[in-house]
């Protein structure tokens, strides 16, 4: 087990290296560089000034040299500076991370709180009207563009009924508001983004929970528990639930990168300055340092999440021991 874990961890290094090479290459294949992207709007900029800017960004070097320079700094956790404003990439990430984290952690909490009971109930009452309703909800939740749902909610809650703010993280003018009112203002701004982010997860997770539960309820030890004369509640909530919850660890591990990453489209709809927006802007202004600074940790977390999911699964379920 320990040997296996170490091997998996070591294997992550070459894969992560591959990720950096691939994403660096793709980004540099795009025509134009940071200097061109910045000067796009000033046609009068002389070729000389452009050259100076290119030199400043190191864009006059061949791609592989730029990559090695970048990698040398990156392994010492120096993410470099953004081309756009010269600020440290680390600072830019750190000011956006809390925003994305708040929204995603809240929506994960909503998902867990709702999906587990829904999953249990639709499994114990299979083919009931509740089960049928959640089945339909699951498929609809999977099949719609989530930004469309966001638009509809913005229209109804924001425009028609004026109940909730539709964009941003707080009102423009907070003067004259008490501490409590300010908090409520922020909370109101979070309702729609958190809800919309939760819908997709809720659909998938409740289905997953239902199937786990159905699987577990068919096991021999559940029949034994029933045969012993235990009450149905003890059977379901004590014997079955514990076993059905184990695979949930896997899902939590796999949702790790999503929590940090943030959704580009969702942040665009609600005007939230989060991680997704940062990467989106960086890719289009060829701000390689920023884009790589967001991307590489996200990719690393994806692999770490996969790894933790496997390990956690093996730790909680003695039947699953990895080779």
């Amino acid at each position: 087990m320990l040997f296996y874990s170490l091997k998996r961890l070591l294997l992550m290094v070459p894969i992560l290296l591959g990720i950096t090479v691939l994403s660096f290459t793709i980004m540099h294949m795009a025509p134009g560089g940071p200097a061109e992207a910045q000067m796009e709007f000033s046609a009068k900029a002389s070729a000389e000034a452009r050259e100076r800017l290119r030199k400043l960004y190191g864009a006059d070097q061949p791609v592989h040299k730029q990559y090695i320079t970048w990698l040398r700094k990156f392994v010492t956790l120096d993410f470099g500076e953004a081309f756009a404003d010269g600020r440290k990439v680390k600072d830019k990430i750190l000011e956006r991370l809390p925003i994305t984290l708040t929204i995603n952690l809240l929506s994960l909490a909503v998902v867990l709180l709702l999906a587990i009971p829904i999953g249990i109930l639709s499994a114990t009452h299979q083919y009931s009207s509740l089960d049928r309703f959640t089945t339909i909800f699951v498929f609809v939740g999977y099949s719609m563009p989530h930004f469309w749902l966001a638009l509809l909610l913005i229209y109804f809650f924001g425009v028609q009924w004026g109940l909730l703010p539709i964009s941003g993280l707080q009102s423009l003018d907070l003067t004259g508001l008490s501490g409590w009112d300010r908090l409520m203002d922020k909370a109101n701004h979070l309702v729609l983004p958190v809800f919309v982010s939760a819908v997709g997860g809720l659909a998938g997770f409740s289905r997953y929970m239902r199937n786990n539960m159905l699987e577990v309820l068919r096991q021999d030890y559940i029949r034994t528990a029933r045969a012993k004369g235990l009450s149905e509640n003890v059977v379901v909530y004590k014997h079955a639930l514990r076993n059905a919850l184990m695979p949930v660890i896997t899902i939590l591990g796999l949702s790790l990168p999503g929590i940090i990453g943030g959704s580009v489209i969702m942040e665009q709809v609600f005007g939230i300055p989060g991680m997704g927006q940062l990467m989106y802007q960086a890719v289009f202004s060829r701000d390689y340092n920023v884009a790589m600074g967001v991307l590489v940790p996200a990719a690393g977390l994806t692999m770490l999440g996969n790894f933790l999911a496997d390990i956690g699964y093996a730790l909680t379920d003695p039947r699953v021991r990895l080779k």
Binding site: P14, I15, L16, G18, I19, L22, S23, I26, M27, M29, A30, P31, T135, F139, V140, Y142, S143, M144, P145, F147, W148, L151, L152, I154, Y155, V159, L214, P257, G261, S263, V264, I265, Q268, V269, G276, M279, Y280, V283, F284, R286, A291, L295, A298, A299, G300, T302, M303
Partner: protein, 284 residues
């Protein structure tokens, strides 16, 4: 033997029909397909006819889904949009499935270092957030229909590849493969003639659901302004231009989104139905 095969096919079809959700899925898919094919005959208006006298009119008998900011009929644009959206879905998933089959077949059939190398590349692709790959590639290529399909295809072949690989690993040890090899069949023949046809069912399911997924990705890209470009009416681009007028003209966003929902729902239900019908282990 042939008799046996017909029996299982009938049984498969029966299982499929028993499941009312998958029948609904199949009907939705069929309905959208018919609309797309018959677009010129059933469209109530010319989708690109500008009518400045009727700008942003809400749903009426004349224009059931209203008109847009140039007075064009939304229903007509949606009917023609079905063609674009389905085209994107089918071609993108066609590309993804082809790449997936090639990569998965080679990795699963040959195993060893080839397998490790291919699968590590799949790991790399899966660890990079899809949206980054798509954004970066769109920054290289112009956002037009052809490139959108290529980009979606290039970023969604990993799941089919894994499925095909798993099938190949399971099937290549069967007796009939050994028999074919003993008869001197080439690798090419064994891969495409003996193994692939027997391992196609999981790919069929993933491709069916993938079409819905690709339509969703296209709508997301269009929403960011990187998808099918106006004035070409894909559902994504209709929805995207609808968002600018969401406060005064809800119908511009509501109906195209509904069309996407119904279509993707159709493919997902159909895919699930095919899975249940083909895989007896999942039957309850």
């Amino acid at each position: 033997m042939p008799n046996n095969i017909t029996l299982t096919t009938t049984e498969t079809f029966r299982t499929f029909r028993r499941n009312w959700l998958s029948v609904i899925g199949g009907l939705l898919v069929l309905a959208v397909f018919v609309v797309a094919v018959l677009a010129p005959w059933i469209s109530p208006h010319d989708p690109s006819k500008i009518d400045v006298k009727h700008i942003l009119v809400g749903p009426t008998v004349e224009h059931p889904f209203g008109t847009d900011e140039l007075g064009r009929d939304v229903l007509a644009r949606m009917i023609y949009g079905a063609r674009i959206s389905l085209e994107v879905g089918f071609v993108a998933i066609g590309i993804a499935t082809l790449i997936g089959i090639l990569v998965g077949a080679i990795a699963g059939f040959y195993g060893g270092y080839i397998d490790s190398a291919f699968m590590r590349f799949v790991d790399i692709m899966l660890s990079i957030p899809t949206i980054f790959l798509v954004l970066a590639v769109i920054a290289i290529l112009e956002p037009n229909i052809m490139n959108i399909m290529i980009v979606i295809g290039l970023t969604s072949w990993m799941e089919p590849a894994r499925l095909v690989r798993a099938e190949f690993i399971a099937i290549k040890e069967r007796e009939y493969v050994t028999a074919a090899r003993a008869l001197g069949a080439t690798d090419f023949r064994i891969i495409f003639k003996h193994i692939l046809p027997n391992g196609l069912s999981p790919i069929l399911v993933s491709a069916t659901m993938g079409i819905g997924g690709a339509i969703l990705v296209e709508s997301g890209l269009s929403f960011l302004g990187l998808g099918v470009q106006p004035p070409t009416p894909s559902w994504g681009s209709l929805l995207s231009s609808g968002k600018d007028n969401i406060e005064i003209a809800w119908w511009l966003s509501a109906f195209p989104g509904l069309a996407i929902l119904i279509t993707v729902l159709g493919y997902n239900l159909l895919g699930e139905g095919i899975r249940d019908a083909l895989d007896p282990r999942q039957r309850e």
